[in-house]
């Protein structure tokens, strides 16, 4: 199947006109598949997601080169909320639930995702969310700010699910959750993917669990993809360990300790 719901080609992102975070990153997400995007902190994973959902401008960032196409259409020409309404839902890092609103009001807010869509959403959407997350149904009158971390993550995913997305961007759903909860959440994510045919681009630090779920994985560093492949291949690769733990396995990179004072010498000579 060559049908890709998301194609990112050679994008570059700059914050505040000075800080370049992405340097020619490319990846694709096939329809109904889960793709994991891994990498150390600060590698640019969240930025990739924000670039995709067109939210960079909120943080004074901008796409300075490259192209992102969702469902065959260039995202640069679409508004952030327009993208959501076309089926691209972004579950942001840190869950970002509306803390002053109740669970159900959070879902109401999320129902804007289906605004103007012919297949509609309506209350059927709520039932779908509650079916996957019965816990949310129990707490639907509670203020979201008082939910536990796991419940908030459920709500965040539930809100995205309400938009009947074709593609979900998941930013570190495991962040700050205990291992048991992580497995619960990921089980539901897998179910959603399987039953709703939602494609997913999953950003994770927890490489094991991400690769267990994914069909394909990319590992990035310093704003570009360095290795990609199937989960089995990536898990077997020593480089993965290096990127995460800095275990100097690779041959070509010299140690930072051995960098010479060449610049300074040159200066004294001139």
């Amino acid at each position: 199947m060559t049908d890709n719901v998301l194609e990112i080609s050679n994008i570059e992102v700059v914050y505040n006109h000075t800080v370049q975070v992405l340097r020619g990153l490319s990846l694709t997400v096939p329809r109904s598949r889960i793709v994991a995007l891994l990498g150390s902190n600060g590698a640019g994973k969240s930025t990739t997601l924000k670039a995709t959902s067109n939210l960079l401008s909120l943080e004074n960032g901008a796409l300075s080169a490259g192209r992102i196409s969702f469902n065959g259409e260039d995202t640069a020409r679409q508004t952030p909320h327009g993208l959501v309404r076309n089926g691209l839902c972004h579950v942001m890092e840190g869950r970002r639930v509306f803390e002053d609103l109740t669970v159900e009001e959070n879902l109401t807010a999320a129902s804007y995702a289906v605004t103007g869509r012919s297949d509609g959403g309506g209350n059927g959407g709520y039932d779908l969310v509650y079916e996957y997350f019965p816990r949310l149904h129990e707490r639907r009158r509670a203020q979201a700010g008082y939910l536990s971390g796991g419940e908030q993550q459920m709500l965040a995913i539930g809100r995205a699910l309400l938009g009947r997305p074709k593609l979900m961007l998941l930013d570190e759903p495991s962040l700050g959750l205990s291992p048991v909860l992580v497995e619960d959440i990921f089980t539901i994510i897998a179910r959603i993917n399987r039953e709703q045919q939602v494609a997913m681009l999953l950003v994770e630090q927890n490489a094991n669990v991400a690769l267990a779920l994914a069909d394909y994985g990319y590992i990035m560093e310093s704003g570009r993809v360095v290795i990609d492949g199937t989960p089995e291949r990536l898990m077997a690769d020593d480089d993965v360990r290096e990127f995460y733990l800095g275990t100097g396995g690779g041959g070509e990179a010299r140690s930072y300790r051995d960098v010479k004072h060449y610049k300074r010498r040159k200066r004294w000579l001139s």
Partner: protein, 292 residues
Amino acid sequence: MDWLFFFEITLAGLGTGGLYALTAIAFVLIYKATRVINLAIGEMLMVGAYLFFGAAVGWALPWWLAIILALLGGGALGMVLERGVIRPLLGENPISVFMVTIGLGSILIGMVELIWTANPRSLPNFFPTDPIFIGEAFLAPKTFWSFVVAAVVIAVFLLLFRFWRGGVALRATASDQGAAYSMGINVPAVYSLAWGLAGVIAAGAGILLGSIGGISSDMGLFGLTVLVVVIVGGLDSVLGALLAGLLIGWMESMAGVYLGGEYEHLVTFILLMVVLLFRPWGLFGTREIERL
């Protein structure tokens, strides 16, 4: 102590407090949605009152039609200000935006004086004029009816915030802009909506205020007391705006009668200083934790 008199003063104070609360809601609405401290709220209120004057007296329209036009005009003004001046500055230094609203206030005063001159005017009376008695206590009909209208309008807006889908979108945007975007909420439209609604409320408050005491181009000063109200209540708290509005209305009445009219605003501003020193986030506001 003359308790009946005290009670009457209290009622009168709450009457003014109702108008403070109403205007404060407009202020809070703008603050919550766009994080703008809008010092021009008093001038928006003044423009609303003058629009009513223009329609009811200038064009001699029936008062109810004039009110509708003035409310719509106030809403349009809010939207225009948001779209034309505020939105280009969102994300900039909040202090710049604050100063822009000071400038806007000045522009609005100038425009009103250009059209209607600076002469004070009185508005046609549309309230019933039969005196109101609560028990033995007298309440001026204007005060009573404006309080009733303010209360009804506030209640309607509270219900809208609570149950209307657009109200939920507003609160969602106020709580987390980025997340609102990612829910498919058209955030810029929400900004316009917030400023538009605030413009409507302010215009309504202006009509009420003007029908009590007449209108003039400097009635925007009312906005400064409203500023104190929202600081005391907490900039982002609707409940705070309501309670602080009533509290300050009552306090001013008390000060005016028992200390003298010159003390009315003094107590307000002393309260402001005390709140800023000891509880800057207000009685019901959210305390923001500063992060690096």
